[in-house]
């Protein structure tokens, strides 16, 4: 069974390249009130503080919060990209992170080559890589573009390729940032189908978004991030009614009904 346990996690970014510390300090402190100093008195931005939560199979969790609240940093930390300065993260199960559309792809290489690299990263053999290429190309509707460098793709194609790549190698835990909502309507349907198949198999979905519709559609739990800390944790109803104004919530619900209809 997949699970994630996050205990007392803190993440801070060092500010090395600033010349005028005091100016930076003032600006940042005014902006967020989140500047601190680490053990060696270097100036750092405390991106995450005192993060504690656990996820189990079947959890479909959404992160909400204003820009700069630490949602993406938390996703990156859960993916193991940023290692925390304190605390610990225990992840049981295979993780795939959809953090940016590029997916670490080399845009100079062709779609086929990028898929091959991902397959090798996941320890697949040549036969499996061919199946992977066929599957991803089919999902992303790339056709003859598969043999062209990714930089020649439209942004929609890049998103589809990245999404196909991340979901084709079936993860038990999927971490998604809000960029995925940039797709067109038909892509959204396809993406939703694909994620739903994955989530149905008792996997974990973690989603960071500004969109209440998406939360109501996909999530059964919401964490509200504010200034790098967890402000609230509960069901979508509870959190959204506190996070949004009543009008916004009503609008999101009516949108949801439209989608359902």
């Amino acid at each position: 069974m997949a699970a994630i346990h996050i205990r007392d996690v803190a993440v801070s970014f060092p500010l090395y390249h600033g010349e005028s510390r005091s100016l930076k300090k003032t600006v940042f402190a005014a902006a967020s009130g989140r500047l601190g100093q680490d053990r060696k008195h270097r100036l750092v931005v405390e991106a995450l503080r005192n993060i504690n939560f656990s996820l189990k199979s079947g959890d479909k969790i959404g992160f909400v919060g204003s820009n700069g609240a630490g949602k993406t940093t938390l996703l990156r930390t859960m993916a193991g990209i940023y290692e925390p300065v304190s605390g610990r993260i225990d992840i049981e199960g295979d993780v795939t992170a959809l953090l940016d559309a590029g997916q670490g792809m080399n845009f100079e290489l062709t779609g086929r080559e990028n898929i091959r690299l991902r397959g090798l990263f996941n320890g697949l053999n040549d036969e499996q890589i061919e199946l992977l290429q066929a599957d991803v190309a089919d999902f992303a509707e790339l056709d003859q573009f598969l043999e062209l460098p990714v930089r020649t793709y439209s942004s929609g194609m890049v998103v589809r390729l990245g999404f196909g790549l991340a979901t084709s190698i079936k993860p038990q835990i999927l971490l998604m940032d809000e960029w995925i909502m940039a797709g067109d309507a038909s892509f959204m349907d396809k993406a939703k189908q694909r994620v739903e198949t994955m989530v149905r198999g008792a996997e974990i979905l973690v989603l960071s978004t500004h969109s209440a519709d998406i939360i109501l559609q996909w999530c059964n739990r919401v964490i509200w991030m504010d200034k790098g800390q967890i402000k609230a944790d509960g069901t979508p109803e509870e959190i959204l009614s506190a996070y949004l104004t009543p009008e916004q919530l009503a609008l999101a619900k009516s949108n949801l009904l439209k989608v359902a209809a």
Partner: protein
């Protein structure tokens, strides 16, 4: 920090892309460690994971080379050709300047230039091994030493193209490799280990301090001229300064364990001892910097 991660073990792909290895789930623990033992364990795991991803390292390196020459007719053989032209031109000029016979000078020069090219590309590309892989580092968790290994393998591929020039020069000049030529096998193994150490150390330093790459560039340029690369160390044999420039020069020791045996020199235990000594220092410094900074690289790039 602590982690036990091997990306991909047990990942299951859609459709018929079946599990890579069994059904065992794997778990990752990332623990913020402030002690050296924990950090060292993490760095060791990182290197082990890179070793298990050798196919990815190989493919990335091959694609790097292919990409560099995509669309050109000669492809990577431009490497061979430009090296050949360089050695031809310099060889005739310098054999005049140094009053040496082209039959002894050209084989020496071809070996020196090709090996130096490998070393100098390794250092300059080692500087950017992490900063250049920023998109990969930020997109997913993968062992970081993989990026240093990629630089080493890529440069070995470049070297393989340039070796053709050395073979051609040896054939044309009728040079016969010495009987101790087999010792270039352990010597090259040492080069590979040193290359990885250089990549890890410079990669970490350059990710953190952006002023390092130009400094490394200047040092390598000076080292090229003061080390016996273009000129034979025998020129300095009877002058006092030769001891400093030749004997205690780490570049000379490393070059000589490869170059000497091929040009028919006997095995110099002292040169080997110096090369191994400097390598030990390099590996130690590299281990310290990588162990110390591994967890922070993602923040720096």
């Amino acid at each position: 920090m602590n982690m036990t991660m091997l990306p991909g073990r047990g990942l299951e792909a859609d459709m018929d892309v079946s599990r890579a290895s069994g059904t065992a789930e794997h778990s990752v623990s990332i623990v913020a460690a402030h002690d050296w033992r924990g950090r060292f364990a993490m760095a060791a795991t990182d290197l082990r994971d890179t070793a298990s991803l050798w196919r990815l390292v190989w493919t990335l390196s091959v694609l790097d080379i292919r990409l560099r020459y995509r669309g050109s007719i000669l492809g990577p053989f431009w490497l061979t050709l430009s090296t050949a032209v360089m050695i031809g031109a310099l060889g005739f000029l310098y054999s005049r300047l140094f009053h040496t016979d082209t039959h002894t000078y050209l084989p020496f020069l071809s070996l020196s230039l090709v090996l130096w090219g490998f070393l100098s590309n390794l250092t300059s590309e080692g500087c950017t091994c992490f900063t250049g892989a920023e998109t990969m580092i930020r997109a997913m968790r993968m062992p970081l030493s993989l990026h240093a290994a990629r630089v080493v393998v890529r440069n070995i591929l470049v070297l393989a193209h340039n070796v053709l020039v050395i073979v051609a020069v040896f054939l044309i000049m009728g040079t016969v490799p010495g009987i101790y030529s087999f010792t270039i096998i352990p010597a090259f193994a040492l080069w590979v280990v040193d290359g990885l150490a250089i990549g890890l150390m410079l990669g970490v330093l350059c990710a953190r301090f952006r002023d390092i790459p130009p400094i490394v560039g200047s040092i390598m340029q000076i080292a090229f001229f003061v080390s016996p690369v273009l000129w034979s160390p025998t020129i300095l044999a009877h002058r006092g300064i030769g001891i400093v420039l030749v004997k205690w020069n780490p570049f000379f020791a490393l070059l000589e364990i490869m170059r000497g045996p091929l040009l028919g020199a006997p095995i110099e235990l002292e040169t080997w001892a110096i090369a191994l000594g400097y390598s030990a220092i390099l590996i130690l410094l590299s281990a310290i910097s990588f162990t110390r900074a591994r967890a922070r690289i993602a923040y720096w790039v």
